[in-house]
Subunit: 348 residues, 2 copies
């Protein structure tokens, strides 16, 4: 079937509607004929379903591919993803960020698309803001948002992006402590010297880690949080009986990302979750919905600033680890309150 | 037993030699008495084996701990590691970077220490140069080098650092290609349009990934490498029949870390290894000793510059992933040729 290349579309006559649209849902009907995108054109050319002419010259695949990749941003990436989806039985339509995808077994006109696929190169930088924007768009349209990352060898990895509400069952009662315990600040951690309070904080709420039978060490975020709750006082020659603001400033001097972590940590604790360091997993926190002996944490949570820009290999690494230990990877960011986004590796 | 605190040592009389040195190998003999480090002192104070006096005042644990952590860098970190090692049956002696550790069941004077333990906070930045320097020192002294990273909650993770020679069985013969294949440059990858050459490169040597039955895509490093071997020519409007230098410059413009990756990639290929993207693992390469269908890669290799500084959560993440997929984590750096360091998570 003869088609005609224009700037960034390909047109065909009426017989294309019955052969390509009615049978394969390629392109869109226009003026009695069919209009194809460059990507659809490349795929149909590869499948030898069409011939593409430019000024009466028939273009071979190589020539067409080179022309199209010069005209359309990320053409080669989208072509790779389009081909993959089509060949695995998904009908797809073009969208500004990639594709709208229809459920397997369903087709355009019969069922609505259920997924927005966002195509991106592993080399691209992905601002959190853009991701949230696309996620809002998808949520409003009742679609799932799926990121299709094309690596340097043209392999595709799919990630589903979801909003998530974090909430657990270990709420802290405000009333319980009458006299704050003294926590001695030793460089980048504090030590509760009192045995009773050490046991209360550790056994009761899983704060800190025992230095030995009678003493408890707290991390900086734990210390900041408990200081805010007035469960502890912090003692140190440079930081005399201090308020949370002063302590947080001190802590931020030791650990540049402290404030970010502190906000997310406090939000998690306030919502009944138990957050402990995620160092062994390369993230800020591992998070429990409820703490009992022998429970496993359900989430890995990493705190990022609202203007964060994902490097995709890093995102891949974080999700991969979470997956390997059967936890869910969540990014927490502060945006008039703390919000959470879950990123899950999926097979589409 | 009474001991006396000095600036950064603690001394005790002759009876300490028989009680602490002969039975526990604490401290070192000096002038008929015993000299303990601050860390040993804190541990023995906690164990109630000694009393520590300063100007005739007996110090309690809290007071001593605060004094010592003000006088000795990373005192609290080293104390945590020392206590952990001692309580798990290892004799240890102080060293500038942490401890010399004796094999379980052996003790100082009887066997040599077999491990150098390098104690470091998860918040510290670890220059590759320092790591290599300590590794050389350990290798020269016939010791193993083990990194003990103390996280913000005082948990310790141990990593063994090793030099490693990378070598595989998939050597490339220079002679095989008479006429270089044409590879079309499309943004950040190239495409071999010729079917014969596509099959030869892909099936024979596991270069690239098939775009479809007859075309092969190559990544930038693969393209650079094959261009250097004169197996391909690269065709593009902006980069006319180019030499490796020009192409590498173009590639480095697209991917800032290209040259680093290219050096390590070329070195691996030259040594008979097959390197493919490690994107799914968040590293530069997954590496096969030999490529056959259904083999798994044995290494994850990440290329870093010689002046690289490790952020320890990142190191933890990389090693964790490698571990979860049963691969070995290797960092490649260029230093008059390319050298490799393996980092392995261990239980000490």
């Amino acid at each position: 079937m003869k088609c005609e290349l224009h700037r960034d579309t390909i047109t065909a006559g009426g017989e294309a509607v019955s052969e390509l649209y009615d049978r394969g849902f390629y392109g869109r009907r226009k003026d009695g004929g069919l209009e194809l995108s460059l990507i659809e054109g490349a795929y149909l050319l590869y499948r030898r379903k069409i011939e593409i002419f430019s000024r009466n010259v028939s273009l071979d695949f190589k020539t067409f591919f080179e022309i199209a990749s010069g005209r359309s941003k990320d053409f080669e990436l989208r072509y790779i993803v389009f081909k993959d989806l089509r060949e695995r039985g998904y009908y797809t339509k073009m969208s500004p960020i990639g594709f709208r995808v229809y459920p397997r077994g369903g087709h355009p006109g019969e069922v609505p698309a259920h997924i927005f696929v966002y195509v991106i190169s592993e080399r691209a930088h992905l601002p959190l803001k853009n991701l949230i924007q696309e996620l809002n768009r998808a949520v409003n349209a009742r679609k799932r948002l799926i990121l299709a990352i094309v690596d340097e060898e043209s392999d595709i990895t799919f990630y589903e992006i979801k909003k998530i509400t974090m909430s657990g069952e270990s709420r802290i009662e405000q009333e319980e402590v009458e006299t704050p315990a003294i926590a001695g600040l030793v460089n980048d951690r504090t030590i509760i010297w009192d045995q009773g309070m050490s046991d209360f904080l550790h056994s009761g709420y899983f704060f800190g880690r025992k230095l030995d039978e009678s003493r408890l060490q707290l991390s900086l975020v734990e210390s900041g949080y408990l200081l805010g709750k007035q469960w502890i006082r912090i003692e140190h020659k440079d930081v005399a009986d201090t308020d949370t603001g002063t302590f947080n400033e001190y802590a931020a001097g030791i650990e540049p990302g402290y404030m970010l972590k502190y906000q997310v940590y406090s939000n998690l604790r306030d919502h009944g979750l138990v957050a402990k360091t995620g160092f062994k997993f390369g993230t800020h926190f591992r998070v429990y919905k409820k703490f009992k002996a022998d429970t496993h944490s359900e989430y890995l949570v990493h705190a990022v600033p609202p203007d964060y820009v994902f490097a995709l290999p890093e995102l891949s690494r974080a999700v991969r680890i979470a997956n390997s230990v059967r936890k869910r990877m969540v990014f927490g960011y502060s945006d008039s309150g703390v919000a959470y986004v879950e990123i899950e590796w999926i097979r589409l």
